[in-house]
Amino acid sequence: MKEWVGLLARLATGAVWIVAGAVKLPDPAQSVDAVRAYQLLPSSLVQPVGQLLPVIEIVVGATLVLGLLTRGSAIVSALLFAAFIIGIASVWARGISIDCGCFGGGGYDADATSKYPWEIARDAALLAASLFVAWLPSTRLSLDRMMFGRALEPEGL
């Protein structure tokens, strides 16, 4: 039963990542602007992070959906969600009103403050789903099972 719930968590989280990354990938400049708007990273890191994030989101989403290196992917996913929660909480605390840029967009948004709690709640739910997947020894319908079988107890992956 848990393994089926794990599959659902994998698919839901993975799909969110794929959509979030695919929306951003065609316009890295916007992604870079969105990262810059958080005013968190040193300026030399803003551009690489903004360019890399959509790619990592798509790859993590794909590996979660496929169930490839599930545990590692789920841990990366959880770390990313934790970072996003910190980022949003930080702009909220500093009174900066920006579109989170979660699914494209970014930059100033006058209504942002009312959206922050929902964005944090959404990311927290996805963080919980990621941690659940990471905690499970294995999930249903995964490439991991097909490739690595169940002959051995899973070891960290």
């Binding site: 990938l25 065609p26 316009d27 890295p28 400049a29 916007q30 992604s31 870079v32 602007d33 810059r36 005013q39 968190l40 990273l41 040193p42 300026s43 030399s44 803003v46 551009q47 903004g50 360019q51 890399l52 959509p54 790619v55 990592i56 798509i58 790859v59 590996t63 490839l68 290196l69 590692g72 930059g107 100033y108 006058a110 490739m147 690595f148 002959a151 051995l152 070891e155 992956l157």
Partner: protein, 244 residues
Amino acid sequence: MSKKNRPVGRTERAAAAVHEMQRQERRRRNLMVGGVVVALLVIVLGGYALSRSLDTSDDVKAPAAGGGDYGLTIGPSDAPHDVVVYEDFLCPYCGELEKASRSDLAKLASEGKVRVEYRPFNLLSSISDYSERSAAVFAVVLDKSGPEVAKKLHDLLYENQPSESGPFPSDDDLIDLAVRAGADEAVVRTGVEAGDGLDWVARATTAAQDAGVRGTPTVLLDGKVFQDGRTMDDLAANLVDRLE
């Protein structure tokens, strides 16, 4: 080796064989995992290269300070550096940058160390028509009253910048600011009421977009996009450091 011990030996051998199989299985598994990790890294690096090539944020090709058709220039033409600031009178970060950089840039320009061109345009038309109206009054003042008065109006517009959520100053309020800057009220009012500046703003906005400007403030130092700074205060400080 006695007969009694044989079964024990067989068990041990069997155990050793199983152990060996498990070891090989684990090895095969680790190799596969390693292979998958490498493949994923290659995909990420490829994606990063693609993303870098698609990133247009540095692709701004604009005329140098003093060379634009829709801007206000301070500082001599033989200054060693040129700075262009694309801005929108409504954009809060432009206001922050302005607050943090204005007096230093004015001083450096007067010392001949930099030539600065401010190029206001209408970026935030989706929020309010204030961007357009304020830039239009600025255009009328620049045309009728000259750059010095226009610079004062520019500064006053930022000092009296409305929030992006309003309320927004009316045209009368903007004309008042122009008068405070030193413009002749009748001249400015006639121009504004005839809609003189609006065309200028539309053309300035097209020129900014054609140059590849995506947002405001966009600062160019010697023709290159300057983004060195986490906050607008950092950016202004770093920019001034480069110019001194």
